[in-house]
Amino acid sequence: MNVSTEALRDMHLRMVRIRTFEEEAGKLMESGRVPGSLHLYVGEEAVAAGVMAHLRDSDQITSTHRGHGHLVAKGGDFKQMYAELFGRSTGYCKGKGGSMHISDLDLGMLGANGIVGAGPPIAIGAAFSNQYRKTDNVTVCFFGDGASNEGTFHEAANMAAVFKLPVVFVCENNGFGEFTRQERHQAIQDVADRASGYGMPGVVVDGMDVMAVYEAAGEAIMRARRGGGPSLLECKTYRFYDHVGIRGLGVAYRDDSEVLEWRKRDPITMFERKLDEEGLLSAGEAAGIHETALAEVREAIAFAEASPFPDASALLEDVYTATD
């Protein structure tokens, strides 16, 4: 597998931007500066980066409650994202959606979603649209191991296969449905096994290795673009923090040692080590990229906090569209 240095650096940048965005967002939530709950993507960055590296703006994705990483990787604007987390009128959703509904339709990001398993039916609709219009756009549906137990996943997987839709189901298997360990919520270990039940290929990759995700996602997306139909890519990954917020250790449902073991396989650290060894990105350059991302995040936070809250008059706006 030969990948250009530019593409490698691009994936690294996407991961760093997600990590930085999330770490700072987590702090804001813990200190009460942003309202509500945040589901952080820290630890799972390689999945979003490896997949999104193959997508164009015109390709769509559906996301999950853990959706910031998907939008960042799809090219989301930090300022509008933070403003949304702060509930400001300058946010992506004018402060009406918040973390769990963050979206950018111009980037084909069809929304984070507060309902587990809501993405797959929407994804097949977008994929149908691509097929109907005879474009070669592809829809990627991100979902978790928990969502793979929802009926919606099964309905959508079946319809995608029977209609041969250009959709890739990317399972971010982080081993937990909220607090419930996978072995307690499903009797299989590889969600990819479910693919064959719908007549599509299912593949398992190391979701901590961005290159493994990149390679497999590239093939799955290419297959969909060429009219080859849907596939399921399961990425084995891990949520470094808690279901909500930044607490990751000292929780009842998993041992700290397990978290520390997974943290040794931090997707960003591993990738940086590799890029450094190969002479493709030095440790110094990587540090600079982290710094730049942090500066951008801080600027976005300042923008968000300086932005106005929505006016009360906005309450009833955008419930409906005025038909021309």
Partner: protein, 335 residues
């Protein structure tokens, strides 16, 4: 754009009015497709899409698996990405299977996304009892959806309304649930050949009158007209209003009528408790309390599931006699 009240030219059945609306809309706009369980080869179990597959082909008239959540998701995702889908949920009772897609996704996407999404999605379904289809194939659940901001809900009362409201629903840039009535499908009426729209959110005074206002929903419109004839024999001049659209609801037309007649009842096939009639009655008393000479009455189904056995079902579903009786009760003229 063609508008309300085009000239009637011929008689058409309710079912033919719906399929004619589909066909004419699809000819007009290539972004429209129809998807649902057995809508293509089967022409829908109710016949509302008969002939469409032949004319528009399998790309635009699509048989789906029996997957209601998937079907609504298909419509939503396609609408959010620029198409104008019509999706069919065969029986309204099945909407329980896809409630999340309708209530949490379809209805809220635009608002949650700060207004950026445009969702020109029509969800067509069939409601109502009368065919001995029992508790899971006979309900009228319109009140569920009227309660959810972001959705529009229409309930055509006859062939003319079925076509005109469908056209308006499909052309609307919002999610609209079109609830047609099963036993009305063979009903005949004058229906214009051309494409016409019945404006959403505008009630229609079907029968003007001076003594009493009946707000009748869907199939209760013809029943209420019959009741009005029965009551005319007693010398009562009853006004019958068909709201046509339940969400948004045309309170103004109803209130204007009540200010004139001073008495009102709402008739619907749905269960009375918590039905849309309760909301309409509340709106009337809020807006026209000082004009009322009697409490607003409500006619609806009793608080039980829809029964199977024909005599029981007949007892269950309100009809002209029950509407007339309720009018008389309100007027203190029990027979």
């Amino acid at each position: 754009m063609t508008t309300v009240e085009a000239k009637p030219t011929r008689q058409l059945s309710y079912v033919a009015a719906v399929s004619e609306a589909f066909a004419q809309l699809m000819r007009e706009d290539p972004d429209i497709f129809l998807a649902g369980e057995d809508v293509a080869l089967g022409g829908s179990v109710f016949g509302v899409s008969r002939g469409l597959l032949k004319e528009f082909g399998p790309e635009r008239v699509i048989d789906t698996p029996i997957s209601e959540s998937g079907i609504i998701g298909l419509g939503l995702g396609a609408a959010a990405t620029g198409l104008r889908p019509i999706v069919d949920i065969m029986f309204m009772d099945f909407m329980g299977v896809c409630m999340d897609e309708i209530v949490n996704q379809v209805a809220k996407m635009k608002y949650m996304f700060g207004g950026k999404a445009k969702l020109p999605l029509t969800i067509h379904t069939m409601a109502g009892g009368g065919g001995s289809m029992a508790a899971q194939h006979s309900q009228s659940l319109e009140a569920w959806f009227c309660h959810v901001p972001g959705l529009k809900v229409v309930m055509p009362s006859g062939p003319y309304e079925a076509k005109g409201l469908m056209v308006a629903a499909v052309r609307d840039d919002n999610p609209v649930i079109v609830i047609n009535n099963k036993v009305s499908l063979r009903m005949q009426a004058d229906v214009p050949e051309e494409l016409y729209e019945i404006e959403l959110g505008r009630a229609h005074v079907v029968r003007p009158g001076t003594n009493f206002t009946i707000v009748a929903i869907g199939r209760m419109v013809p029943e209420s007209l019959k009741a009005a004839e029965m009551l005319a024999a007693d010398g009562l001049d009853v006004e019958v209003i068909d709201p046509r659209t339940l969400q948004p609801f045309d309170t103004a037309t109803v209130v204007e009528s009540v200010r004139k007649t001073h008495r009102a009842l709402v008739a619907h096939e749905a269960v009375r408790f918590g039905g849309i009639g309760a909301e309409i009655a509340a709106q009337i008393q809020e807006e026209a309390f000082d004009y009322l000479d009697a409490p607003v009455g409500r006619v609806g189904a009793p608080f039980s599931p829809v029964p199977f056995s024909p005599p029981l079902e007949k007892e269950y579903i309100p009809d002209a006699g029950r509407v007339a009786a309720e009018v008389r009760r309100i007027l203190g003229k029990q027979v």
